[in-house]
């Protein structure tokens, strides 16, 4: 069963749908040394840090056909070979939470030429995903599918939705069916969000 939740474009209702996209995942880096800071293992990459080594990018296997979700780093290095598929609408881009919206924008003059952008959150506690979603929607005017992938869990879904995401690939070991309920945890949130204004502009509270 699919673990992909999508908000219906017409009525906003969440439904579980088949995933048409295949993620392109680079091979693991050779011997990845465990990084530590102040005695603790570093769990989050800093914004702007390298995602994949040139070697990993070069060794990435890209399926020969079908719709593919390609990491930004892979796209940057290998766009020549993906050009026609991009034009056919078969390529989407994966941006990691430590990558920047500017870097993505630098690649695509019109972000809406992309049928889908997925933001990969390695750990659910990384709240950069919300700002990235917000930026893509409000700053860069991106209107196509925006998908949260990675460590995507139901207790953050309400925030993902308000940050502009309209599809959510729930982590494989969790039930998307259960998670759907959390998209409606709150009926009248206080503050504005992507596509929403603060409650005092939404309704008369006097």
């Amino acid at each position: 069963m699919s673990n992909l939740i999508q908000l219906n474009a017409a009525n906003g209702v969440a439904e579980i749908v088949q995933d048409a996209w295949t993620r392109v995942i680079p091979p693991a880096a050779g011997e990845e040394s465990v990084r530590k800071q102040a005695g603790k293992v570093v769990l989050f990459k800093l914004t702007g840090e390298q995602t994949y080594t040139p070697e990993q990018v070069a060794n990435t296997t890209i399926p020969a056909s079908g719709k593919i979700l390609v990491p930004l780093t892979v796209w940057q290095a290998r766009k020549a070979e993906l050009q026609t598929r991009m034009q056919a609408g078969e390529v989407g881009i994966v941006l990691a939470t430590h990558e920047t919206a500017e870097a993505l924008k630098a690649e695509f003059n019109d972000l809406n030429s992309l049928p889908i952008i997925a933001i990969y959150v390695e750990r659910f506690a990384d709240g950069r995903i919300f700002t990235l979603g917000n930026w893509l929607r409000t700053r860069y005017g991106y209107t196509n599918e925006l998908r949260a992938i990675g460590d995507v869990l139901r207790d953050q879904l309400f925030f993902h939705k308000r940050a502009g995401f309209n599809s959510f690939l729930i982590r494989a070991d969790r039930s998307a069916q259960d998670a759907i309920a959390s998209l409606n945890d709150f009926s009248q949130p206080y503050q504005g969000a992507v596509n929403d204004v603060p409650v005092w502009r939404r309704m008369n509270r006097a």
């Binding site: 570093v42 800093l46 709240g127 950069r128 953050q156």
Partner: protein, 558 residues
């Protein structure tokens, strides 16, 4: 004070339901410890040494008598019959059961209270001056904007998982009492040249492991932009804060690393996109919220009251209390009263369920049914008539709530420390109690005069030790508990971070160390000089010399 409408009530009700389900899933094994952790923290629930600790939000320290009564009931029913007021104006329960928390939240929701975002890596409870709205030196009552910010920050979808906790303080007085310089964002309200409400914005202050006072990022911000500007600041922080290292993840480290100029440039750039948008606070919304903070229906009273004057003249104990626990009020014939939660020999900030009922009754009878908590961990009745002070004193005294020590050495600010907190290096409450007993002589306390002593059980600095005139910090040395002493810290407009005087001391030595610091002060002070003034004039060296001189003769500390 602010009253919930349907929207507010619905949000806390939905929160109770949400958290009930999260707890159910955790207990049922559907959520791992790691996944549940930020969820429970954002609901104020810590897993502590002996039991969980639940931190209940008291937004900007304002409560009704009904709310305090309910807190008393909850403490009795779900805890051991007492609570603890923290340095961030919240109430902490030390012994609740994890599985009872949904019920506690449901009970809180019946009195318009909650525990939302009292912990975790999100925007925390916004704090302010405990005398907001009534202080004679107040220029602007910051509470309406504080409430607007509370709502904006509650379940903010973009700032739900920041690199680290984020604390905002607001203040609208000439004498800062909200330590705005020690917060991630400090908003100082003032009237600008056009007589409009404006904000001076401080950023990047914070105590903890790396104590830094904030820097002014913007001298003049129109109040309409309070939300959009904060949003720009926090957005830059959310993206660029040091998520790789929890000890460097506060905004102060980012501001320091970039430098204030560059940080300001990034914020301003972000802000240009937000500035005139939907976040702009409208006059209508300000008015809607401000109506809840209108002045109380005061009586017209003379500035003096004969019965009060007589009682002061004839009753030295009352006079002592009136001197220390009664504060000026902008309305003639009224005073603010501090209910001391610092009786000598008890944990600072602790209050029993019975005492909560007493204070709630006092608030109903004498102070329009409202009260406040202070970051000094006391309670305030903000609007008491001069002629009622004696009655308030008698009733408070009968409940051990009238120790006349406010602003004195035994009005110690103290975190829960090693008795409760699992992060602690050392106990803090027994140190506070021992110092209180050492100085359990009111005449001597008055002789010493105004002084602030702060104790934290570890470098997280919940007891704000860096800004105490005397600061005590619990440190761990080879598994045993030691205490490092700083002098010269100060809160307020001329805030400063204290300097360490030297090697640390054992718990037994601490009352004596404080004693010797006081001796130096009493010997060196001139005229009306307060302890902090003397330290600033003569420096730390004489204090250090006297403290360690005696030590050389006796047993030596490491």
């Amino acid at each position: 004070m602010y009253k919930y409408d349907k929207i507010d009530q619905q949000i806390v009700n939905e929160r109770v339901a949400q958290y009930r389900d999260q707890t159910r899933r955790y207990l049922g094994g559907e959520l791992t410890d790691e996944e549940f952790r930020p969820l429970r923290l954002q609901n104020g629930l810590y897993i502590q040494r002996h039991a969980p600790m639940l931190r209940i939000a008291v937004p900007y320290g304002l409560m009704s008598s009904t709310q305090l009564r309910k807190l008393g009931e909850i403490a009795k029913r779900y805890d051991r019959g007492y609570g603890h007021f923290s340095t961030r104006q919240n109430l902490q329960l030390n012994w609740p059961k994890l599985e009872d928390v949904p019920e506690i939240l449901a009970a809180l929701a019946t009195v318009e209270m909650h525990a939302i975002q009292t912990s975790g890596n999100c925007i925390r409870n916004i704090t302010t001056d405990q005398f907001a709205g009534i202080a004679p030196d107040e220029i602007i009552d910051p509470r309406a904007i504080a409430e607007i910010m509370r709502q904006w920050s509650t379940f903010h979808p973009e700032f739900a998982l920041l690199p680290r906790k984020f604390k905002i303080a607001v203040s609208g007085t000439t004498q800062d009492r909200a330590i705005v310089q020690a917060h991630d964002i400090g908003l100082e309200f003032y009237k600008d040249a056009q007589n409009q409400m404006a904000i001076k914005v401080w950023v990047g202050g914070g105590l903890g492991r790396t104590p830094i006072l904030g820097t002014v990022i913007r001298e003049h911000l129109e109040w309409q932009h309070a939300l959009s500007y904060c949003e720009a600041v926090i957005r830059v922080y959310n993206i660029h804060g040091r998520r790789d290292n929890a000890y460097k993840a506060r905004i102060k480290i980012l501001v320091k690393a970039l430098g204030i100029e560059e940080f300001r440039r990034q914020v301003d750039e972000e802000w240009t996109h937000l500035k005139e948008g939907a976040l702009t606070i409208t006059q209508a919304e300000l008015d809607r919220v401000a109506q809840y903070f209108e002045p109380m229906p005061y009586e017209t009273l003379p500035a003096h009251d004969a019965s009060f004057d007589t009682a002061v003249a004839s009753n030295p104990a009352f006079a002592a209390w009136a001197k220390r626990c009664v504060h000026g009020h902008r309305v003639p014939g009224y005073r603010a009263v501090t209910i001391s939660l610092k009786p000598h020999g008890k944990a600072p900030g602790d209050i029993t369920s019975e005492q909560m009922q007493v204070v709630a009754d006092l608030a109903d009878a004498y102070s329009f049914g409202e009260l406040r908590s202070s970051h000094e961990q006391n309670l305030i009745l903000a609007d008491v008539k001069l002629s009622d002070l004696f009655a308030v004193w008698e009733k408070a005294r009968a409940a051990d709530l009238a120790t006349p020590n406010i602003g004195l050495l035994t009005d110690i600010i103290c975190c829960p420390g090693g008795d409760f907190c699992s992060l602690a290096n050392a106990k803090s409450i027994p140190i506070a109690e021992a110092i209180q007993m050492q100085f359990d002589n009111l005449d001597y306390l008055y002789e010493i005069g105004d002084i602030e002593l702060n104790i934290s059980g570890c470098m997280n600095a919940c007891g704000h030790h860096h800004v105490g005139h005397i600061g005590i910090l619990g440190v761990d040395k080879d598994g045993s508990e030691w205490y490092q002493v700083t002098v010269g810290g100060k809160q307020g407009n001329d805030a400063s971070i204290g300097s360490a005087i030297g090697p640390s001391f054992s718990a037994e030595e601490m009352p004596g160390v404080v004693q010797r610091l006081i001796e130096v002060y009493l010997q060196q002070r001139s005229d009306e000089e307060r302890f902090i003034d003397t330290v600033r004039r003569i420096g730390v060296a004489p204090f250090k010399a006297h403290v360690y001189a005696e030590q050389k003769e006796g047993a030596s500390a490491s």
